[in-house]
């Protein structure tokens, strides 16, 4: 079944993507504006499910790389993703037939819409993570041996680089160095794969899930129901904390927004404190020193009452928020998955503790483990 992403769908899509973005993936409002202009000018984008994808389809991921803190100030024009895509096509000597969303996140779910609309290509209803992660190699396709390279990287000036690397970790290292030099954000096109590979290695139905999450929040607000509860229900997650932000320490270092936030609890969590650490995305949450959730599970910060997702660059003193934990795609919980995106991959000296048994939020029975 095909559905279209038009101007009317973008707000829900951006909001839902920001929920799954777990604090990262760039500012959703900015992403929505970029996508809205592209769709307005070029028409809606058709969404193709993984099952409909031909085996020989040529799929590529188009995204932005860098620190969201910088993206907020150095706004892309929307032309960069297309240039990256064209450079990727030249490097592969292939024509891309389908655009893939690399990660669910504020801007990075919208940039593929921009590329798809402007090129008149369909988008795959899936993503490469099922959430957002800060580094290039932290993609489900990595677990299936699919290489990010050749990767094309470009900036707003017209500088372009093509990377052919020995592995996805090196792609991340070199692309990050270039991104920092280009001004701490850049557009990339990478992870070229066939339709058959995409069916195996992507997380199915992510864009539909984003739309559903956005819709759930919107409807709950309109009906004066608790939109946070609607998010929790849809994701099969659980509430980890409710409180007020008392401190935010945020630095833009090595091309990332890194730091932590402290929150003082209210209600059920009165007299407790939650510490949230992040590298673009939220990495671990500790309540009074006790680990309550960590990567690769989703740690989602929502504004109290409105369930507006809060990205790490938007975290600020006094904000009243609820913190929600939700299970990641089960493949991230495998040994290989944890090696790429578990707590130890981020320098933490503890094992992964699942936040919930593994809810049916991402495609349910269609998981391909």
């Amino acid at each position: 079944m095909r559905r279209l992403i038009g101007e009317g769908e973008l707000a829900d899509l951006a909001q839902g993507a920001a929920v799954l973005g777990t604090g990262g993936g760039g500012p959703p409002y900015l992403g929505m504006l970029l996508a809205r202009r592209a769709v307005h000018e070029c028409g809606p984008v058709s969404l193709v499910s993984l099952d409909e994808l031909a085996d020989d389809a040529c799929c590529a991921d188009v995204a932005m790389m860098g620190a969201p803190t910088v993206l907020l100030e150095k706004v892309p024009s929307g032309e960069e993703p297309l240039r990256a895509l064209e450079a990727l096509e030249r490097a592969h000597r292939r024509t891309v037939t389908h655009i893939v969303c690399g990660e669910a996140g504020g801007v990075n779910s919208m940039v593929p819409v921009v590329a798809a609309a402007r090129r008149g290509l369909p988008m795959v209803d899936a993503d490469g993570i099922g959430r957002a992660f800060p580094e290039l190699q932290m993609m489900m396709p990595t677990l299936y041996g699919i290489t990010a390279a050749p990767l094309a990287i470009t900036d707003e000036r017209g500088n372009t680089g093509v990377l052919r690397t020995v592995d996805n970790r090196w792609t991340e290292r070199i692309a990050r160095a270039i991104t920092v030099e280009l001004g701490c954000n850049a557009s990339i096109a990478s992870y070229l794969m066939t339709g058959a590979q995409a069916r195996q290695a992507l997380v199915p139905r992510t864009l539909t899930l984003c739309l559903e999450l956005g819709e759930a929040i919107r409807c709950a607000r309109a009906a004066h129901r608790d939109p946070v509860a609607a998010v929790i229900e849809r994701l099969g997650g659980r509430r980890l904390f409710h409180g007020r932000v008392t401190d935010v320490d945020r630095r833009t270092v090595f091309g990332f927004a890194r730091g932590h936030a402290l929150m003082r609890g209210v209600g059920e969590w009165a007299d407790t404190e939650l510490r949230l650490e992040f590298q673009n995305e939220h990495l671990v949450a500790r309540r009074d020193g006790e680990l309550v959730a960590s990567v690769p599970d989703l740690i989602i910060v929502l504004q109290e009452a409105t369930a507006e997702p809060v990205t790490t660059e938007e975290l600020r003193y006094g904000l009243r928020v609820e913190v929600v934990g939700a299970a990641c795609d089960p493949r991230w919980r495998s040994q290989a998955g944890l090696a790429v995106a578990g707590p130890r991959a981020f320098g933490y000296d503890h094992e992964f503790v699942p936040v919930a048994a593994g809810g049916p939020h991402l495609g349910g029975a269609s998981w391909r483990a």
Binding site: N159, T160, G161, V162, R164, V166, A177, I178
Partner: protein, 360 residues
């Protein structure tokens, strides 16, 4: 006329290149070893004069980028230079017929031999600077509007990056960032040009000049002659200072070896002090607070007894050295040339004074 360069010729070329390298361009000994290895494995390299390069030739340079301080510890295998050259060829989509030497300098004049020998392609007797300079956009072809891009970088791991930047300054910025990430040294191929452009924009005869300089030094030593004097004569330069190194401040930062050396005078420079500042290459020489030479002219540090050129990473306390200045290619002294490599580009608040006009 084209001639063959054998492994035995490399010692002279490497030594002469280190003279013109003005302290930079990488370690001459390591570059020589790689070139000799390649020539022994694949046969001699054909060196062609610029006049012999056909208009339709497709030339590109081959060499290394990064901090020479790292280059002496993280040794190149030569394979990465071949990979960079071939990656550039693939990106271009047409064969590269000739190898160019990007700069006269320690290893950057011998690494092109590695690529030329390995791939059996002729090397052009010339270079893009007539000396060595630390940054990518500092090449005479750039004055003629030749783009450094497409540019290929390769490392020892097997990573390759192809850059297409909007100008040569951006090429330098991005390539430097990539080089640092690759471990502060990388193999490089860039400045693709046809034969006509090469003839117009390269400095002719540089490899032969290197060989001649190297041979002069060796011959003078054997004859118990003054080898430093022979170098000064051949380059039309002059002695700026002689003495003993008393201090070296050297840092590897932003992908360069930066710093300075202090030299206490001897003989006619007794009780004087010379300060040489460098960024991979020697940038300025200041004697008792007075500027005596600056980029783009060549500031060459030679071992006083042997005239062995001293690279910036080899500078150390106690070394007896003679500082020699020699005029650069006149194109560097044009407004466009000085904008690229004049003292002000390197952050100095003074203009270039040709070494011939400087007081003694």
């Amino acid at each position: 006329m084209a001639r063959l360069i054998a492994a035995d010729d490399l010692a002279d070329i490497a030594r002469g290149a280190a003279v013109l390298g003005t302290g930079g361009g990488g370690d001459p000994y390591l570059g020589m070893l790689l070139a000799q290895l390649a020539i022994r494995a694949h046969g001699p390299v054909t060196l062609v004069e610029l006049d012999e390069v056909p208009d339709s030739a497709c030339c590109a340079d081959a060499g290394g980028m990064g901090a020479p301080t790292v280059g002496v510890e993280k040794l190149a295998s030569g394979d990465e230079h071949v990979r960079a050259f071939l990656a550039l060829e693939t990106a271009l989509g047409r064969p590269l017929t000739h190898v160019i030497c990007g700069e006269a300098g320690g290893s950057n004049s011998t690494l092109p031999f590695v690529v030329a020998a390995h791939l059996g392609r002729p090397l052009v007797d010339g270079d893009a600077m007539g000396r060595a300079f630390p940054e990518l956009q500092m090449a005479i072809p750039a004055i003629y509007g030749v783009s450094a891009c497409p540019l290929a970088l390769a490392d020892q791991q097997g990573n390759v990056v192809i850059l297409t930047a909007i100008d040569n300054r951006w090429t330098e910025r991005i390539a430097r960032a990539v080089t640092i990430e690759m471990g502060c040294t990388a193999a490089l191929s860039s400045y693709v040009m046809d034969g006509a452009t090469a003839r117009r924009s390269l400095v002719p005869g540089t490899i032969s000049l290197c060989q001649e300089l190297g041979r002069l030094i060796v011959t003078a030593r054997a004859a118990h002659d003054d080898p430093v004097e022979r170098v000064v004569e051949r380059l039309g330069g002059r002695r700026l200072f002689g003495g003993r190194v008393t201090d070296v401040g050297r840092r590897t930062e932003s992908g360069f070896a930066r710093g300075h050396a202090l030299i206490a005078g001897a003989d006619r420079w007794r009780d004087q002090e010379c300060r040489v500042e460098f960024q991979n290459e020697h940038l300025v020489a200041i004697r008792d607070g007075q500027l005596v030479a600056s980029v783009p002219d060549l500031i060459i540090v030679l071992d006083t007894d042997t005239a062995e050129p001293v690279t910036t990473e080899q500078l150390r306390y106690g070394l007896r050295v003679t500082v020699v200045a020699a005029p650069c290619d006149p194109r560097w002294r044009s407004p466009a040339g000085l904008a690229l490599v004049g003292p002000r580009y390197f952050g100095y608040a003074f203009d270039h004074v040709p070494v011939e006009d400087g007081g003694d």
